[in-house]
């Protein structure tokens, strides 16, 4: 093997010369007058009349649904065989995913490809109701503009369409409401001889009692991407409170936040509340759903978590009214999710698209059997009356559900960023490492503030 020869100087000179050219170019760039690097904000007036795309009757509509809602769309297809549909499964914006948002950005750039009907989270409506750039049209079509009759919109539960409403228009139909109630295993509670708590103080005391008397049984879990909504929202913690459309109040030092953090820390230390999530991979195996004595969680825990995932037999699970704090007269509760259906403003078959979205949210055919509690009032009645629901639960949950639906605290706003991101990548890993919630609150505060600022909010802490 010959020893390598050194590269010829000519080559080196060439490389260094081009490097020099590049450097001097950028140096010249630095010297010039410089404009601001901030993005221009789209100034399109949202009040401008909605101009639909050219319509083609009977053209195919593309539907994006998460896997939970997939059977519903398939059911519609089966009952409406004449509608041409292309059904695509995606993550449904769960767990703070921004898949839909990034794809719509892409479609706005390319000028085609938008799905006609999508299932998403309330967070999605915050950006979908605005144009993504000065030249783009907002993705979501204003459904109150001659698409969905006012009568139908009026049929949705009070306040349930609030996340859909911007600038006086309604941009989505709410699939379900997810008011937080206190779920409990009645069979176990009776067996252990416990009273169902009505206040958080009783809940805390019972949790500590369970830890002593029946170690291994759980009164809650905080490890899910949405646990903050079950607990801190219910506690009326001002973590995501819009004071006006551009100002967000984030104050986790508020007493309403610290009281919940303290309570949960005690129960976590006692091992009555787990830092695992009910929805985490390992939970179903160990400890498993049969160890869940109580769970403060949304209305869909009943069918979706206890029945479908934990496979708890019928006649055991019951729901109680949201817990109150001692000394407080009005109860308040949280809300976990509650998906929405949006119709694309670019759809060339608005008729079929709107019809699908309306059917999905209002038809008893699907909603009465849905795993989630319908936002549309007549469908909710049918849901409660459905034997599959009434028979599964140990007690009549109708009153509790209806009562809780009116108690959802309005101080936890639907912001332009998901409230799940900071919770799941800052707070949850800290809890897994054994830190307490109380000591993690400042980090959570910083994470929310950073995220809020990056999407343009002004922060108020008091």
């Amino acid at each position: 093997m010959k020893s390598p020869e050194p590269a010829k100087p000519g080559m080196r000179r060439l490389v260094s010369r081009s490097a020099f050219a590049l450097l001097s170019l950028s140096a010249a760039a630095m010297l010039g007058g410089c404009a601001s690097a901030t993005q221009s904000t789209p100034t399109a007036s949202p009040s401008a009349a909605f101009k639909p795309a050219a319509q083609t009757a009977g053209s195919q509509i593309t539907v994006w649904a998460d896997s939970t809602r997939l059977p519903a769309v398939q059911q519609y297809q089966k009952s409406h065989p004449d509608v041409k549909m292309n059904i695509v499964t995606y993550d449904g914006s769960a767990n703070g995913s921004t898949y839909l948002q990034t794809k719509v950005q892409l479609f706005d750039r390319t000028g085609n490809g938008w799905p006609d009907v999508v299932f998403g989270s309330p967070t999605d409506v915050t950006w979908a109701s605005q144009p993504t750039s000065p030249s783009a049209t907002a993705f979501a079509a204003p459904l109150d503009a001659n698409l969905v009759p006012q009568q139908t919109l009026d049929g949705f539960a009070k306040g349930s369409l609030a996340p859909c409403q911007f600038n006086g228009h309604t941009y989505c139909l709410r699939n379900d409401i997810a008011q937080v109630v206190l779920w409990y295993n009645k069979t176990l509670m009776d067996k252990f001889g416990y009273q169902v708590p009505t206040t958080w103080e009783q809940y805390e005391a019972l949790g500590e009692q369970v830890a002593k008397e029946h170690p291994g049984y759980l009164v809650g879990a905080v490890g899910d991407t949405n646990s903050q909504e079950s607990y801190f929202w219910s506690s009326q913690c001002p973590a995501f409170q819009l004071e006006d459309p551009a100002t967000l109040k984030v104050d986790l030092a508020d007493g309403n936040c610290t009281r919940m953090a303290t309570l949960l820390d005690k129960l976590i230390a006692a091992k009555a509340v787990t830092t695992q999530g009910f929805f985490s991979q390992g939970f179903a195996k160990d400890p498993g759903g049969s160890k869940v004595l109580m769970a403060n969680g949304p209305s869909w825990y009943g069918q979706y978590l206890f029945n479908a995932a934990f496979k708890v037999p019928a006649g055991q699970i019951a729901a109680a009214a949201p817990l109150t704090w001692e000394g407080e007269t009005t109860a308040a509760t949280g809300n976990v999710g509650g998906g929405v259906w949006m119709v694309s403003s670019h759809s060339t078959n608005l008729k079929a698209s709107t019809d699908l979205a309306t059917w999905l949210t209002t038809s008893n055919d699907f909603q009465a059997n849905a795993p989630t509690y319908p936002a549309y009032v007549p469908a909710a009645k049918a849901w409660l009356a459905n034997p599959a629901n009434s028979k599964y639960f140990a007690t009549d949950i109708s009153d509790v559900f209806q009562q809780a639906a009116d108690l959802v605290w309005t101080g936890w706003s639907n912001t332009k960023f998901s409230d799940a991101t900071a919770w799941s990548n800052v707070v949850l890993p800290a809890l897994t490492q054994g830190k307490t919630l109380t000591e993690t609150l400042p980090q959570w505060q910083t994470a929310i503030t950073d995220e809020a600022k990056s999407v343009g909010y002004t922060i108020a802490t008091k």
């Binding site: 590269a7 080559m11 490389v15 760039a29 404009a35 948002q101 890993p429």
Partner: protein, 312 residues
């Protein structure tokens, strides 16, 4: 290839100057035609995007010149420093493990093992390379989940009770190194082995008769002789490491958001572009990465003897 090229440069240098000049015109035109297809692609997907990235990074979305403001803006973003810190930590661990382990393994395979056995080992180490990209991440999601992992006993004994515990932010660089090593190291072991094979047996024999043990031979003869290959590997591994995207992105999905969506600089650029609609900021981040890559490329081209392009 080695044997074939030895005479070529010497002969070509004695080619009469006049004939070269004569053929230059005809072959020159033909040369342009032959490279034209590639040159168009190079312009379109190599040079133009680079220039365009600079243009974007130096302007705002109204097309106004912003100087270094985009760079300052992204560098001040709260996600910028963590992303670059993450990637640096990862790169240090990845480079150390890939350089040390592949070289050691290749040397042992070359000099301490029967050829047949060595071939089997090389093949088995090399095979996971077929599962690069998304597939490797998915496989490792299973490997790292104590609920299904074949080594759950190991994970548990290390104190990882569940998947969430495995995915704590501090462990992420290690996990990504594991994945990268699993898919990439085998290929490099094979390449290093090939490089070692190029060392003539006489050299090793001479060392042995001089009384050098296998470790001494490795340290004083073999490693110096494949030094430039180690440098080549290190630089390519570094350049590849700066572009992490799919791995943390999928871990983010699979961990249900426990991993930051802006863990790596590339992910941050992606978020800037497609979530904030800020392509200029995204380009500025790309330029930071590009600068890293270009420094590597320049180092490799100018400082090492690997890419001598000066044959006449």
């Amino acid at each position: 290839m080695t044997a074939l090229n030895t005479g070529h440069e010497a002969v070509s240098s004695v080619t009469p100057v006049r004939r070269r000049a004569a053929t230059r015109g005809r072959a020159g035109l033909a040369g342009y035609l032959f490279v034209s297809g590639y040159a168009i692609l190079l312009l379109a997907f190599g040079i133009f995007p680079t220039v365009y990235a600079f243009f974007l990074a130096l302007t705002n979305d109204r097309g106004q010149f912003t100087g270094l403001n985009q760079f300052i803006k992204v560098a001040q973003d709260y996600r910028f420093a963590p992303a670059f810190l993450n990637i640096s930590l990862y790169l240090v661990m990845w480079l150390l493990s890939v350089v040390v382990l592949t070289v050691v393994v290749a040397i042992v395979l070359r000099s301490r093992m029967r050829p047949r056995l060595s071939a089997i080992f090389r093949f088995l180490y090399y095979l996971p390379g077929a599962l690069a990209g998304v597939a490797s991440v998915l496989v490792w999601l299973f490997m790292l989940d104590p609920a299904v992992s074949p080594v759950s006993w190991l994970l548990r004994s290390l104190g990882f009770a569940d998947f969430a515990a495995v995915l704590s932010p501090g462990d992420l660089p290690v996990i990504l190194v594991l994945i990268a090593f699993w898919t990439g190291a085998g290929g490099w072991i094979v390449v290093m082995y090939g490089a070692l094979n190029n060392i003539p047996d006489e050299v090793l024999e001479a060392a042995r008769t001089d009384g050098a043990g296998p470790w001494k031979t490795a340290w004083h003869i073999q490693i110096p002789m494949i030094r430039k290959w180690i440098a080549y590997m290190a630089i390519l591994a570094f350049a590849g490491g700066t572009q992490l995207f799919v791995e943390p992105q999928m871990l983010q999905t699979a961990s249900l958001g426990r991993v930051s969506p802006t863990w790596s600089p590339n992910q941050l650029a992606y978020v800037f572009a497609f979530q904030h609609g800020d392509f200029n900021g995204a380009a500025a981040i790309s330029i930071f990465l590009l600068a890293l890559g270009l420094i590597c490329a320049a180092l490799l081209v100018t400082r090492s003897d690997l890419f001598k392009v000066d044959e006449s």
